[in-house]
């Protein structure tokens, strides 16, 4: 092959400049595809909702959020954490709306001025699950009695231990049964420090009792020997509340879009959507928003 021009400039010098240009171009192109890279796009309508892992794991959001988006065009980005962490996230202003199920903690949040316009949206219920053989003989409708039997039998019990709404509820029931579960710490009372799913995984592996919300249980696929032993106790109902992160504390909170979401959740349409969500033919969440009469 005869080279026509022997004095061609070295391809290397040109190549390296091209390479740098190509790399920069590629990076810019890629990065530009990301949302929320510090540049506000007028067409990016979204809010960040801090909620809990048990709510996400139940699949409720997959059902109702597309309905909300179809109606308003707003994208709801759910960051699912434990209740404690969700409230901490909202307190720091990293979310626009909070949607959890721990009335006491929620009220504190409002009292401290971090949340406004709290509304009760729906409730689901907790159940106690345990090994099919039910060594502690807990079966029935009475949650408090079941817990007493578990402690008496020193039957293994897996707790979330993660400051979540579910965990807080569990502790309240132990208290109502006059038992301090910490007395069994390390022997029959095992705290996993994790979400509902991982805790059920542990319970399944250990053949232990556990306290869980019905929603997570119905979608949980790793049941092993576990089954529901206690349900239907009215004390086991679990109230969900939603509130807007206070714009007075965090000016960037998307007040309008956040309120649209809250309004929709508590509207007849939203409440119906919640009720319509079923797993294995069973309704999981029971809407119970009641318009509060204005305080005199």
């Amino acid at each position: 092959m005869v080279k026509k021009n022997l004095n061609q400039p070295s391809p290397f010098a040109k190549k390296s400049r091209l390479r740098v240009a190509a790399f920069l171009g590629m990076t810019l192109l890629t990065v530009s595809q990301f949302d929320g890279v510090g540049v506000a796009h007028a067409q990016d309508k979204f809010i960040v909702v801090a909620s809990t892992t048990s709510t996400q794991d139940s699949g409720l959001f997959g059902h109702i959020l597309p309905l909300f988006k179809a109606k308003t065009g707003i994208d709801v980005r759910v960051v699912a954490q434990g209740t404690g962490q969700a409230l901490a996230t909202a307190r720091k202003g990293d979310a626009d709306v909070v949607f959890v199920h721990d009335k006491v903690a929620e009220q504190k949040f409002v009292d401290e001025g971090f949340g406004i316009d709290r509304r009760e949206v729906m409730y689901n219920d907790f159940v106690i699950v345990g090994p099919r053989s039910d060594p502690a003989k807990t079966a029935g409708k009475d949650a408090i009695a079941a817990l007493k039997k578990i402690e008496a039998a020193k039957a293994p019990f897996a707790s979330r231990g993660d400051k979540s709404g579910t965990h807080a509820a569990e502790l309240r029931y132990w208290k109502a049964a006059d038992i301090d579960p910490q007395s069994g710490k390390g022997t029959w009372y095992r705290e996993t420090g994790s979400g509902m799913g991982p805790t059920l995984n542990t319970a399944s592996a250990m053949n232990a009792y556990a306290f869980t919300d019905r929603g997570t249980w119905l979608s949980f696929k790793n049941r092993g020997e576990l089954t529901i032993t206690v349900e239907g106790d009215t004390k086991l109902f679990n109230q969900y509340g939603v509130m807007l992160v206070n714009p007075a504390k965090h000016a960037h909170v998307k007040r309008d879009m956040g309120m649209q979401f809250i309004d929709w959740l508590t509207s007849p349409e939203g409440q119906a959507a919640i009720a319509a969500y079923k797993i294995e033919g069973q309704q999981l969440f029971f809407p119970n928003y009641v318009v509060l009469k204005k305080a005199a």
Binding site: T27, G38, G93, G197, R223, H252
Partner: protein, 234 residues
């Protein structure tokens, strides 16, 4: 063992049907880790080269720290970035938390030490071979760095791939700074964590199989490019 068999079957079904969710999650994983490794390399390679050639008091200490940071726990990096990017933190006004950009930043930070430390070692070794010739030619520090970076490019590509592997495999940092938001910041590793926590172990394992196969394929491709290049360029 049954679960393993189920997982392979599910994995195959997901891939063969181009399951939309799987494609989206995989694409996001590749984009986040890809950009992270490019950004990290852009800074880490010249830094490693500079450190290889520089002589200053305390240099051995810097090298030891850099090498040590290769073992940074991802979840700690995630926590640090989270505190930085939170609205309550110094960079909150950028609104980057719970976005893919935050994930890129966390991963880039995580793999910077890997790429820089390996580059430093590779280039310092090459410098032993090239030093006399480059000094004889009166190449200045910057010219030496560039010549060495280019000459060791095949070995360096292995360290870059190591960084990519670390980035795409980690879950702690991206979970914290990304929030595992469906459709926005959910990547393969956080999806696996989610399905595991939901007790859907076959699906989680299936996603894991897809992730591993993808990483292996990427490495195979890189290796073949490297081999053909080496044969051509010596």
């Amino acid at each position: 063992m049954n679960e393993l068999g189920d997982s392979f079957r599910i994995a195959w079904q997901l891939v063969a049907s181009f399951d939309a969710n799987l494609v989206a999650i995989t694409a996001l994983s590749l984009r986040v880790s890809g950009v992270a490794v490019l950004a990290a390399s852009f800074l880490a390679l010249p830094f490693g080269a500079w450190l290889a050639l520089a002589r200053f008091p305390g240099r051995q200490g810097v090298i030891a720290v850099l090498n040590g940071m290769m073992g940074l726990p991802p979840v700690v990096v995630g926590l640090l970035i989270y505190l930085l990017l939170s609205r309550a933190g110094p960079l909150g006004a950028l609104g980057l938390l719970f976005t893919p950009a935050a994930m890129v930043i966390a991963q880039a930070l995580l793999i910077f030490p890997i790429i820089a430390a390996l580059a430093r070692q590779v280039i310092e070794d090459a410098w032993g071979e090239y030093r006399e010739q480059l000094v004889s030619l009166n190449a200045n520090r910057s010219q030496c760095m560039r010549a060495l970076l280019w000459d060791t490019r095949f070995t360096l590509s292995t360290s870059v791939l190591a960084g990519f592997g670390r980035a795409i495999a980690e879950v702690g940092a991206v979970m914290i700074v990304g929030g595992n938001i469906d459709g926005v910041t959910r990547v393969m590793t956080t999806a696996i964590a989610l399905e595991t926590s939901k007790g859907d172990l076959p699906l989680a394992l299936a996603l894991g199989v897809v992730l591993i196969v993808m990483v292996v394929l990427i490495n195979l491709a890189a290796q073949s490019i490297k081999t053909t290049s080496m044969r051509k360029h010596g």
